[in-house]
Symmetry: C2
């Protein structure tokens, strides 16, 4: 209970660094001193005594804690980053499902259109779909399909198995709506009838050489 020998009234139970001491310690840490040796601790202590009461163990503990908490902060940051990556993977997976679903709808839409166009002819819509001749009939839709297919193929190829061998008109075993709820981002696939995409010759007047 009684304070030590000749020390003045200092009932504080633990060291509380003065701002100057703290500043100097942090500067030293930044300067590269992470685990000071005994003699370093001794020197630092005697130097910091100029700014207030301090013991060697305080310096020792300070560097110990500071280093540990530095690492801790770093680790936490890393973990958060990993979380983000993990979530990003999930995002990609769901977007994949979502895109596939969009593509399915588009193909379905295309198919019904072709059926209407082709009624009476020998070649039916499915054949047209397979051999690609439908593009001539509905070029603007063709563009969108190609576009979607490309985007679909571009994504990272994990979870590939989830996408193959699926009926074009069936939803992805019910996961579609969950996806839409979770990620309400709309991949704008314009289906409006802007049939003016004929391959015209470009004619900006300034191109004449």
């Amino acid at each position: 209970m009684s304070p030590a020998v000749a020390s003045a009234a200092l009932p504080t139970s633990r060291w509380c660094p003065t701002p100057e001491q703290l500043m100097i310690l942090e500067e030293m840490y930044r300067g590269g001193i992470k685990t000071p040796t005994a003699s370093q601790i001794h020197h630092i202590t005697s130097y910091l005594s100029l700014y207030g009461r301090i013991e060697g163990k305080n310096v020792f503990y300070w560097f110990q804690n500071h280093k540990a908490r530095d690492r801790q902060r770093l680790r936490r940051k890393l973990l958060l980053h990993q979380h983000t990556l993990h979530l990003h993977k999930q995002l990609m997976y769901h977007q994949r499902l979502y895109d596939h679903n969009q593509q399915s709808h588009l193909l379905h839409y295309l198919d019904s259109h072709l059926r209407q166009l082709n009624q009476g002819r020998v070649e039916d819509a499915s054949t047209q779909l397979l051999n690609g001749t439908w593009k001539a009939d509905l070029p603007e839709i063709g563009y969108n399909v190609v576009n979607l297919t490309n985007r679909f193929r571009d994504r990272d190829s994990t979870m590939k198995m989830a996408m193959v061998n699926r009926d074009a008109t069936s939803p992805c075993r019910g996961e579609t709506f969950k996806t839409l709820e979770l990620f309400p981002i709309i991949t704008t696939v314009s289906l409006k009838d802007q049939c003016t995409t004929s391959t015209q010759v470009p004619n900006p007047s300034l191109l004449l050489e």
Copy 2:
């Protein structure tokens, strides 16, 4: 079908920029030229002719396309960022549920312990839980509860309503396991009985002043 006037055999149907041309074009684009004027196009074209066959319309189209695709990339990046934010919110929400669940288990565990300790006394476990006197009986658990409570409070306060007024022993309406699956981060709550916390004097030999 036939090639133009005096041009040598060049059956290629479309312009294919040489690496040098591409580099120069990109440099110009980065330099600020997004939609070059007619004269600019003319100059660029004549300059790039040094590196390979090129026409004014190629330059024009290149800038047109590059600008558009730049915008597209930007838009995609923004969307992705929004996705990440959204997912991060979800993470926080689920972690919140997860933590609360942990806390519930801990409280339940604490409660049963106190019931055992208190059998025969007037003050029952629930009362002890409420007024805080249980900390004297089980200090090491108390610390963990406080710790968990702190972490629990730390999170962002969206979805706060989901957490309040919940029975300490009931799971969070079944969402708990989903959370655990999605985010397998373990909040290590050590419940071991280390009651040997006598305050020993630290003794690294180098600390003697």
